[in-house]
Amino acid sequence: MAERRIRIEEITKIEGHANLTIEIESNEVKRVIFGVHEGSRYFEAFMKGRFYTYIHHLAGRICGICTVAHELASLLAVEKALGFEVPDEIHALRKLMLYSSHIQSHILHLYFLALPDYACAESAVELARKDSRSLELVKKAFAIKEAMNYMTSIIGGRAVHPCTLVPGGHSAKIDKEDIERYAKKMKEIYPLLLETAELFLSIEYPEFERESEYVALVDGIKIPLYEGNIGTTRVRFSPKEYMKHLREWTVDYSSAKHSLVDNRDYMVGALARLNLNPYLRDDAKEIAEKYSIRFPTHKVAWINVAQALENLHYAQEALEIVDSLRKGYSGVPSKPKTLDGEGIAALEAPRGLLIHHYRFSRGRCTYANIITPTAMNTENIERNLREYISQIVEMDDDFIKTEAEKIIRAYDPCISCSVHVTRVG
C-alpha cells in the first residue's frame, strides 16, 4: 500500500466511466492508473459473419457522438475491400457530414465538459445558473450544437446514426436546395464559432507540457480528416501499414487497450492534427496569432485551444466543398466489384485517428479490427499525468485531483469507444 493514495472513483464530464488512482511515496509519483471500467462490447467478434451491407450500421453504434466518423471509416474500409467505385460527389457529401459532426462534438466537449473546470462550476447546468453571461454562453453552445446536428441531418437524414450512408453511394437524393440550406446555416452560425474561439483561446490553462509523439492523418497541404497517410513527427506511412507502426496491448486494470507508435507514447486528436499540419485557414490563423498561440506545442491542455481553432477551419473547409456541390446529388449506389477482399481505412474522428480494418469472404466479414482514438491516447494520458503530478506533488489532494481531471478532460476521452473491444481481468 502506498504512503499516499489519491483516487477519483468516477471521473465526471467524460463520455463513459473511468477512474483514476495516483500512488505517491516520499513525494515521488509511483503509479498513475487511468482505469476504464466498462464492460467489453465485442463489436469485432459479432461483426464476423455479417454481410457487408450491415457493417457500417453496426460500427456506427460503437458511439453516439462520433457515429458519423465510425460509419464513414467503416464504409471506406468496406468499399476498399470490395472494390466499390465511389463518385467524387459522394465523398464531398460525406466530408460535409464529417465537418459538421466534428464541430458538434468539439462544442459538446468545450462547453459542457471542459469549460466548467475553468469557470468554477460543477457542470454546465450549474454554470447556466451562475449569472446571465454564463447562461448566454450555455445557450450559444446549444445553438451551435443544434445547428451542426441540423446540418448533418440534411445530408444524413438524422444527426445520430445517419441512415443515408450505403456502400458505394448515398441512398437519398440531395438537392441543390439542401446544399444551400447547409451553407446558409454554417454562415449563420460562424460568428458564434468565432466567439467560441475567442473564449477558449483566452482561458488560462495548466502550463504543463511534455514532449511526446503525435499521430494524425497528413497530406502535406491541408488538415485532412477523410483521407490521407498516417503521420507522426518522424515518419509517414500508408494506413495499410498501421500494424507495423502501432503496437497495442492490454493492461490488467483497464478494459481499454494501450498503444505505442514506433515504441513512443503518442497523442491523437485536435492538438495532434494541428501539430502535424500547420495549415490553419486565415481566420483561425489570425485569431491564434492574436492570442500568441503557436503550433507545434506540447501543452496538453491546449487540446481545447486546438478544438476551438479547428471549428473555424472546418467551417470554412465545408463552405469550400459546398461550392463544388452546387448541383446536388442524385444517383444509384455502385455495386461491389468483388465479394472477397481486405480493406483498411484511416479517418480522423473528433477525438483523433480512427482505424477500421476488415476482411470479407463471399460478402461476409471474416475479420474485423477497429482502433479508436481513446485507446490510442490512454498510454499518453497516463504518462502525461505522471509527469504533471510529479511537478505538483507537494500540493494537497484536492488540487491534484482538479488538475488531473483538467488534463484527462482535455483529451475528451470516449470510454464507450475505447471498450468496444476488450476487457481484461
Binding site: 464492460g39 467489453s40 464476423k48 450491415y54 453504434r61 437524414g157 443515408t164 441512398s171 492490454t250
Partner: protein, 203 residues
C-alpha cells in the same frame, strides 16, 4: 434521494451495473428505458448470437474477463416506459415527458413503420426488392430510413401484433435466403425475436 423520472440508456454488462440499475429502480418513481440497447439489448446484444468462446477468440493474448450478456432492461427490473429506436425519437421523448407531467397515458405505437411510410407516400422498398424490416417494426420514427431511400433495419424492434410469418414469406418470395432473413431479424432485436429466429432456423 428519490427522483421522478429516471432515464436509463444502455443495458448492464457488468455486475456493478446491474446493482446500479436495481438501485436506480428503487430510487425513482418512473423508469424509462431509453433507446434500443435498453429496450431490446440492441446491437451489442448481437454478441448473444455467438458463443462466448468465439467472442473471446478475437482477442489475442490475455483472455478478457467476460461481460454479462446484454439483455433488455426489463430482464432485470420493471420498466414503466420504453422509448424505442436507435436513436430514439426526440419527439417521442418530449411527448412522454409531457404526458407524465400532465398525467396523460403515454401510448406505444402499435403499428408498423409501413403505416407512416405509406402516409409519406414513399414507394414500397420491399416491392423494389429491398430487405425491408418495415412491416414488422414498430412505427413512431415517421419512416425515417425508407423516406431517405434506405430499407428499414428494424432499430425500433417489433410491435405487438407483427405478422412475422407473413413478412418472412414475402421475403422468401423475393428470393432472400433464410440466412439473410435471420441476420436481418437479429441485428437489433435478437433477444426479442429469439423464438421467431429459432422457428425459422428449424423450418
Amino acid at each position: 434521494m428519490p427522483v421522478d423520472i429516471a432515464f436509463v440508456e444502455g443495458t448492464p454488462t457488468t455486475r456493478d451495473e446491474v446493482i446500479k440499475l436495481l438501485r436506480i429502480r428503487k430510487d425513482c418513481k418512473v423508469l424509462v428505458a431509453l433507446g434500443a440497447c435498453a429496450d431490446t439489448g440492441g446491437v451489442p446484444g448481437l454478441v448473444n448470437t455467438i458463443s462466448k468462446r468465439d467472442a473471446i477468440k478475437v482477442y489475442q493474448g490475455n483472455p478478457p474477463e467476460i461481460s454479462l450478456n446484454p439483455k433488455p432492461l426489463s430482464y432485470y427490473v420493471n420498466v414503466d416506459y420504453i422509448l424505442h429506436g436507435c436513436p430514439f425519437s426526440r419527439k417521442e421523448l418530449l411527448e412522454l415527458i409531457t404526458d407524465i407531467v400532465i398525467g396523460k397515458e403515454f401510448r406505444e405505437k402499435e403499428y408498423s413503420v409501413c403505416v407512416e411510410c405509406t402516409l409519406r407516400e414513399n414507394g414500397c422498398l420491399l416491392e423494389q426488392g429491398y430487405l425491408c424490416m418495415g412491416p414488422i417494426t414498430r412505427g413512431g420514427c415517421k419512416a425515417m430510413c425508407p423516406s431517405n431511400g434506405a430499407a428499414c433495419i428494424g432499430c425500433r424492434g417489433p410491435f405487438e401484433d407483427a405478422n412475422f410469418k407473413g413478412h418472412i414469406r414475402s421475403l422468401q418470395e423475393l428470393g432472400f435466403t433464410k440466412e439473410q432473413i435471420i441476420e436481418a431479424y437479429s441485428v437489433f432485436s435478437y433477444e426479442k425475436l429469439k423464438e421467431v429466429i429459432s422457428w425459422l432456423k428449424e423450418e
